[in-house]
Structures are given as structure tokens and as C-alpha cells.
């Protein structure tokens, strides 16, 4: 996992959803470790990854929940949808069935997340152009009709992986700025740290508070 110092202003909660085998875990791994896992076992229930990135000059930590795509895990993974600030809905451009199931995933996402959740559609495996089964224009239109962001990416080559997470984060940050996302709500999927960079760990943080209490 990322061992960066705890020097960030916001924490955004993300969920990654989509059919099995579309590359959700590989996208997460490429984003957090900048490496591609060729032999990736399928996800059991839910996995967890974090990384800090910069959005409009602010350091933001992304807390990413990678869910299992198998139908048998769908009931148990739904419980992690709530309170997500961003959702990455992934399909495989070489398998049309994964694109056809997006309506079902979108319905789940709409019903189980906040109205302000930013949903971005990701067409993964963009490097396999020869086996393309879903055109860019078709998916772009689907995204526009449903009010989603859209990008094609490749977890294998790393193309647009960073941009996908960053695009959603920018949208979330914009919603915070224009007031449509109440970042003080516990269910918003955003934690705000309105403090100067802290050099110490949790124990060091508690000392100033204690001194304050002793006043």
C-alpha cells in the first residue's frame, strides 16, 4: 500500500463496480502500485486500496473499495456502495456482454449511493484494439445519456488509468467547491482535514488537543 506521509486535505471514498473479468482489480493495482498483474485472482467480496494524488493544488487521498464482480457476491458487496463519493463503472471493450450489463450496474449505483456521487464509465483493455467489440462512440453516447463521465483505459499499459481516477476526483472537488456536495455530511464519502500539514502521527496529533483541554 501507499506509505506516503499523512499529508492531505481530503479523503474521497471510491467504489469500483462492473462484471467479473473486466479488470477492476488490475485497474486498482495499476493505479496504486503502477504495475500490471497478469495473473490476478478474482476478488472475494471486497478489496481495499489507497493513494494520494493532487487535485487543483490540494492533496487528496483516494480510499478505493474494489468489489467482486461475480453475481454470487453482488448481494454482499452492495453494502459498500453507500457513502461513496465516486464510482468507477468498468466494462471490457472486447466483451459486449460486459457493456450490456452496465444498465444493471448503473441502477444499483444510483439506488445505493448518494445523489451527488460522481460516476465515471471506464472502458478497459483499450490496448486490445483488434478485438474491440464496443465502439468508443457508442459508449460515449451511453455515458452522455446517463450523465456519466467516460474514458477508455488500459490497466495493462497504464493508459488513462491515472486520468480516470483524477477525472472523477476533479469532479468531486468541483462539487465541493460549488456547494452541491456537502462535505460535512457523514454519508458524503468525503473526509475533510482543514489543518496544516502534520508531521507527527496520531499520537502526536492528540497532544495539542490535550494541551488545549488543560487551558
Amino acid at each position: 500500500m501507499t506509505a506516503a506521509p499523512y499529508n492531505y486535505s481530503y479523503i474521497f471514498k471510491y467504489i469500483i463496480i462492473g462484471d467479473m473479468g473486466v479488470g477492476k482489480s488490475c485497474l486498482l493495482h495499476q493505479f496504486t502500485e503502477k504495475k500490471f498483474m497478469a495473473d490476478c485472482p478474482h476478488t472475494i467480496g471486497v478489496e481495499f486500496g489507497t493513494r494520494i494524488m493532487e487535485v487543483h493544488g490540494q492533496k487528496v487521498k483516494l480510499q478505493i473499495w474494489d468489489t467482486a464482480g461475480q453475481e454470487r457476491f453482488r448481494a454482499v458487496t452492495r453494502s459498500y456502495y453507500r457513502g461513496a463519493a465516486g464510482a468507477l463503472m468498468v466494462y471490457d471493450i472486447t466483451r459486449r456482454s460486459t457493456y450490456n450489463h452496465l444498465s444493471s450496474w448503473l441502477t444499483d449505483a444510483r439506488n445505493l449511493t448518494n445523489p451527488n456521487t460522481v460516476i465515471i464509465l471506464i472502458g478497459n483493455k483499450a490496448d486490445l484494439e483488434a478485438q474491440r467489440d464496443v465502439t468508443y462512440e457508442e459508449a460515449k453516447q451511453f455515458a452522455e445519456e446517463n450523465g456519466l463521465l467516460f474514458l477508455e483505459a488500459s490497466a495493462k499499459t497504464g493508459e488513462n488509468v491515472e486520468e480516470a481516477f483524477l477525472e472523477a476526483a476533479k469532479k468531486i472537488y468541483q462539487n465541493i467547491q460549488d456547494g452541491s456536495l456537502d462535505l460535512n455530511a457523514a454519508e458524503s464519502g468525503v473526509q475533510h482535514k482543514p489543518s496544516a500539514p502534520q508531521g507527527g502521527r496520531l499520537n502526536a496529533d492528540s497532544q495539542p488537543a490535550k494541551e488545549g483541554c488543560s487551558c
Binding site: 457513502g83 456537502d182 457523514a186 454519508e187 473526509q191 489543518s195 502521527r201 495539542p208
Partner: protein
Amino acid sequence: MSFFKRKAKSKEPERVSDAKVNKAPVIPQSPSQGPRNHNAVLDVAGPSHVAISAISANMDSFARGRTAILKKQPSHMEAAHFGDLGHSSVNYQPQETRSRMSKTVDQVLRDNVAMPHFMHCMEHRRADHLVRFWLEAESFRSASWSRVRAQNLNSVKHSSLAEPVAIPPDGPELDQNTLNDVALHNSRGNPSPLSNRRDSTSAETDPKANPSRAETPSRQAPSRTGTPCKGQSNSTLRDLSDTLIKSMEKDAVTIFTKYISPDAVRPIPITEQIRNDIVAKICGEDGMVDPNCFVIAQSVVFSILEQQHFTDFLRSHHFCKYQIEVLTSGSVFLADILFCESALFYFSEYMEKEEAMNILQFWLAADNFQNQLAAKKGQYDGQEAQNDAMILYDKYFSLQATNPLGFGDSVRMEIESNICREGGPLPDCFTTPLRQAWTTMEKVYLPGFLSSNLYYKYLSDLINSVRGDEFVSLGTQGQGGPADNDRSSSNASESSQAQGAKKAAIKILKNFDEAITVDVASLDPEMLYQRPYAGKMTFGKVNELGQFIREAEPEPDVKKSKGSMFSQAMKKWVQGNSDEAQEEMAWKIAKMIVNDVVHQSNHDSPGKSTKVPGLPQHSQEGCV
């Protein structure tokens, strides 16, 4: 130089504390630093039974080669990490398998703590009559069934009273007394709670009476004496059943008039067909009220609550108030955190800071695996389940695990046998490590989380949610009663105004954030430490007497003001004060030296010829 020394001394305690802080995370790291062996690569593709056997053999060989290391490291890690909890006989039964923070409609309706908040929310939405109807109908149904059971018990009692009478007639020949008893028995055994049956019974009695009268005309008197007893029994039973029936009927009519009748002040939205069905069940042909007469209406209301109102309740400040009530009750359990998504959001952040995310990850994955397997109730693909279990095993338990948790050999072997069971693993194959992970999180990490800044931030967010929503509610209430004629347009206007109020509230909250920022910045130790340093850069000057005067005269006041707020600043102020004292003493010493010099110069002047006039004056003064 003294300034530098002081600075160094003040820095040393911080370094010591930093060292202590740095030592603390070492302990949580131990499980993640378990043995790693990348030489062997397991076949990630679905392993067959043969592959599993090969894997087991392979593991055995590795185990032999690493016996000494494993014997040391696992026991050490378990001792340091789990204490004796890893081997305790406590059953893995979480106090609750659901969080009190995440509720369903059914749970809220039966929870005395959550119900008031839900009622308040529904009152704001002007739909509280739905909840009230559901509660009253549920009470009616329970009470009705209780009454029906009571009525049945009374019937049984009455029947048992008739039992002894049947015993006396023994012989074939009956004397007059025996004949009288038989008559009483007949009269008492016949009555029943149903009026229809009473009529048939009375019809049956007549033919029996006729033969007896024909045979024994002289015995008419004894028959008549039996009639009063019969009448009394019937009236008593009739009174009891009538009371119960009237009570049920009265309650049913009250609920009907209040919520279901077309003339009700606030009728619940049900179809005419359902209403007619309820009427038929209340005014049944047999005169009995059906205890389940409101069940269909209850299910309709339940659906409306669940689909139209409950989601908004979960996002309202009423639910936040309930959550705050639970979280500040002083008895928060791990189940309240792990089964609540918003609390898990903060807890996972805490676990990552403690570098113990592997434990939480394992617990989540294994719990999800066991839950989906148990949900199938035995009707699942054993091979598929085994593949899933092997993925978890390879990640957390294998000797080549990518995220080893440091479980001992006994646990690993138990899991191996559970996974390789004939017919596939059972839904409880990871129960032992799940229990250990749960206990570790509960005993080691939950107390720290509940006293951490993240937890207070979580509570602060909930409180801010309450404030924000209350602003919105006040804005909504200010509109007054909307027109009932056209609901759609009024709803649209309400929503637009609510959004405006929400934006205003958010702006206010942003101002709060800025204020908080200022306060937090002023509390930053580094900034506090830097301020006195700037003051000491000022230079001083030397006056004509050689006294060194510093230009930073206001400095003591600044130190005093800071000292009253922070202990560190107070220490600095004390040190500064002592420094000034030393300076004053030095100045006094210098003054004495100057006086001595002046004195000596006056004494030497008489000896010189140039100052002869001065000498006589001095000597004269001496004479006087």
C-alpha cells in the same frame, strides 16, 4: 550562545517523544513481516484435487525446512499480537451480526430508540399517520390473537366442568337420583359459544324431553329444577365472549374510522378493494373480527414507507441524531462499526494509519465469502467455493502468502483441511481466523479508534449534518402550508426552495470551516515554537555607562500571555525571567565597579599640584 543551548534543550523532549511514537507502530507491523518465500509459485488457476494434494505435499516439505523459524516467529507474533486470545475457547459469535447504525424499516419500527427519530422525520414529511397506523394495527393484531387464545381457554374450562358429571352413572339400572344426574349432564354438555349451535342444541333437547315426560309424568319437577343451572352457565360464557368480541370490534372500528374510512381526517392510501375487504373482515357474517383484517393494509403502508420515505430518513438529520445517540452512549461495539458503511469509512482510515489494514481486509473478504456461501443454504458448487477459498488461503495463510497475517501452523492446517473437505468447504471454514481477527480488532484497535481524532471527526461530521439539515428544515417550515390542490407544483417549489436553503447552510458551514482552520493553525506546535524565535533576533545597544539594553522590551508581556495558554511557552517564559534577573545582577555589579572607579579618582586628585585649591575644601569638610 545561551539562546542556542536553550533551543537545543527544548528540542530534546520532542525527539524523545518522537522516538516513543516511532516505536509504537513496530508492534502492529509484526504480522505483516511474516516469512516470505518467492521461490515456489502456486498455480493460481482453479486447483484440482490433485493439485491440492501436490500443494499440501509441497507445503509439508517447506514446513520441515522452516520448522525452527516458524516455531519462533508464529509464537512470538501470536504472543505479541493476540496474547492468549488466539487460543481462547471463546466462540466466534459477534455480539450483533448487524450494526445498530445501519437499520432496515422493520428494525426501525421495532426499535424503541430509533422509533422517535423516525416519527419526527415522518412528521416533518407529513406522513406520520402511516407509521401510526402501522403501529396501531400491529398492536391490534397482537392483542386480538391474545384475546382469541383467552377465549379458547375459557371454552376448554367450561368443557372440563362437565367432565365429572359423566363419571357417576355406572350401573345398567338407574334410580331416580342417577336419572336426574343424567339429565343435568345432558343439559350442561350441550351448550357451546356459538349461537347457531345453541339453537340446534335446544331443538335436540325437545325430543329427548318428550319421551322422558311420557315415560315418567311424575318426574317433571326434577327436570325443571335443572334449568336454572343451565341458564347461569350459558349467560356467564356468553358474557365473556361478548366482552371480548365487543372489545376487538371496538378497537377495529376505531382504527378503521381513524385511518381507513373515506371520511377519515388523514386516510392511508389504499384501494377501494382493500377497504371493502377490511370492512368484510371486521363485520363478518359470524360476528367475529378477523385478527388479520389489517395485514394487507399494513403491507401496503410498509412498502410505501420503505420505498418513498426510508431512504430519505437514512439521509436526514434525524437518523444522524440517532447515530450520535448510539455513538455517544458509551457502549459502542465493533459490530456497530464494521456493519455500518459510514463508520467503516473512518475505521478503515484508522486501521491503515495503524498499518493493520491486512486484518480488516481479511475479515471483510472472509466474512463476505462465508455470508454468500451460507446464503445458498447448501446448494452451491463445491468446486467454485473451493476456488474462492483457495484465493483467500493463498493470500493470507499460505507459506508464500502475499499478505500473511502471521497465523500459526495449527490454524493454517485447520483451514487446509476445511478447504479440502469432500464436497467443498462449508460456510464456516474460516471461523477460527475470523474469530481471531475480530478479537484483535476489538481488543487492540477499537479502543484506540474510539479515542482517536478520526472518531471525533466522524462525530463532528454527524453533528454538522444535523445542523445543515436543520437549516434546510427551518427553510422548509418557513414556507407555511403548501396548497393541497396541486401537489406536484408545490413539491417542485418546495424542492427548489429547499435547495436554496441548503446552499445557504453550506456557505455557513464553510465559514465554520474557515474558523476551524484558524483555530487549528494557531494550535500548531511548530508555529508556536517559531514566534518567540523571531523576537530574539532583535539587537540591543550599549549606553554611555556600558550597560547593554535590549530593544525587545515588550517580549516579557508576550511570553506571559503565551505562558498562560501553553505549558511549553510557560517554561520558556520562566527561563526568560531568570535571564533578566541575571542581567539585573550583572548591571548592579557593573554599577558598583563604576562607583569604585569614581571614588578612586577623587582620592588621587589631592596628591597632584594642579588641584591644590580642591584639597583645602576636602580637608575642611573632613575637619567638620
